[in-house]
Amino acid sequence: MLKIYGRATSYNVQKVMWLVAELGLPHQRIDVGGKFGGLDTPEFLAMNPNGKIPVIDDGGVIVWESNAIVRYLAAKYSLGQWCPADAGQRAQADQWMTWASGELHAGVIGVFWNFFRTKEANRDWALIRTCEQKCVTEYALLERRLTSQPHLSGDHLTMGDIPAAGTLYRYFTMDIQRPNLPNVEAWYQRLSQRPAYREHVMVPYAELKDTL
């Protein structure tokens, strides 16, 4: 059976779990990382020398790096749907994933770490403002993309939507300044109708507050 290593509160684990649930794959998730620890054991490092979550073990196939895992599961179990079959469409989905884990991630996960997770006394406000501003720039790209279509990938969700869509719960529920983003907000509302998104992405994160 497919095994997923990683705590449910990790954004990078959530991307994987959301897809696993959408695909209805039988699986077992094992809590490691954060308060559970276990990332520096020889057994874990033998799977992922980088010592991070998520990691999957799919019948002996070990994959780490959340986006690589999402692309693997989509290609293996859902070619033509969650992984577009056409080379050009597949590349565009890939591009949105890479963009989200670089540029968008720097903004929103930057705010999450430096503001939400960091105790007031330790906060670097200049850095928090830079991350907030990065959010403004990057979510504006999503806003524009969603003017003419319901998802980044077009009429249907694909792997290309997962990393960006996976940030929305945190972005819209953190106590921060946000610009007006009607299309992105409507997208978030549509996604939150999906049971898999609700269960695996809309995971309360209060326990991570002020832990740094």
Binding site: P49, N50, K52, D58, V61, V63, W64, E65, N67, A68, I69, R71, Y72, A75, K76, A87, G88, R90, A91, Q92, D94, Q95, T98, W99, S101, G102, E103, L141, R144
Partner: protein, 207 residues
């Protein structure tokens, strides 16, 4: 013909140029970014609103993100040796590419600004040391992987993962710092140097 937008000293543009030569794709390149034409030009922003190079245009398809472009080109040209069709073996290549983009790349950022670009805003010696330390930790992870495969990042044969990783290793050796010894990485640098496309776009004197 494939059009590549970006000036040739950019590490991410060099990944794409190397991939093109490795696959044997003819391309036409336009200078954008760095000291050439600014990417803040509206014509460029229309192609990539992030204002970053590289961008490629292939028969009307506009793509950005260097690693995405490498994967696209290998896939389109049926280069199973660079990017296997089988999901399981492909993932072994892709995860090292993603690791390069998200983890490895973040570790060197401060040190490269300080030591290569000599950027006056990046001269805090504690931060330089921290960046070098983190960078070396990532090179060590790569070293262990290469010691295991005995040859290339994802196995015994050259793959698409060796393109971002080869450029990263070149940057490591080209940056003036006290390099700890990583034997498998040093041997890998020499192994890659047998490839003309690496000598042209990778080990070409630029960090």
């Amino acid at each position: 013909m494939l059009k590549v937008l970006g000036q040739p000293a950019s590490i991410n543009v060099r990944k794409v140029l190397w991939a093109c030569d490795e696959i044997g794709i003819a391309y036409e390149r336009e200078d954008w970014g760095g000291a050439t034409r600014p990417t803040s030009d509206p014509a460029f922003l229309a192609l990539n609103p992030n204002g970053l190079v590289p961008v490629v245009i292939d028969d009307g398809l506009v793509l950005r993100e260097s690693n995405t472009i490498i994967r696209y080109l290998a896939n389109k040209h049926g280069r199973d040796d660079l990017l296997p069709q089988s999901a399981a073996t492909r993932a072994q290549v892709e995860m090292w590419m993603d690791w390069q983009a998200t983890e490895f790349n973040s570790s060197w950022r401060y040190a490269v600004q300080a030591l290569v670009r000599k950027n006056p805003n990046f001269q805090d010696s504690d931060q330089i040391d921290a960046s070098i330390k983190s960078w070396a930790k990532h090179v060590q992870i790569l070293d262990r992987q290469l010691a295991t495969t005995g040859a290339f990042v994802a196995g015994s044969e050259f793959s698409a993962a060796d393109i971002p990783m080869g450029l990263s290793v070149n940057r490591w050796f080209m940056t003036p710092l006290d390099h700890p010894t990583f034997e498998a990485v040093a041997a890998y640098y020499e192994r890659l140097s047998h490839r003309p496309a690496f000598m042209k776009h990778g080990r070409n004197g630029v960090a």
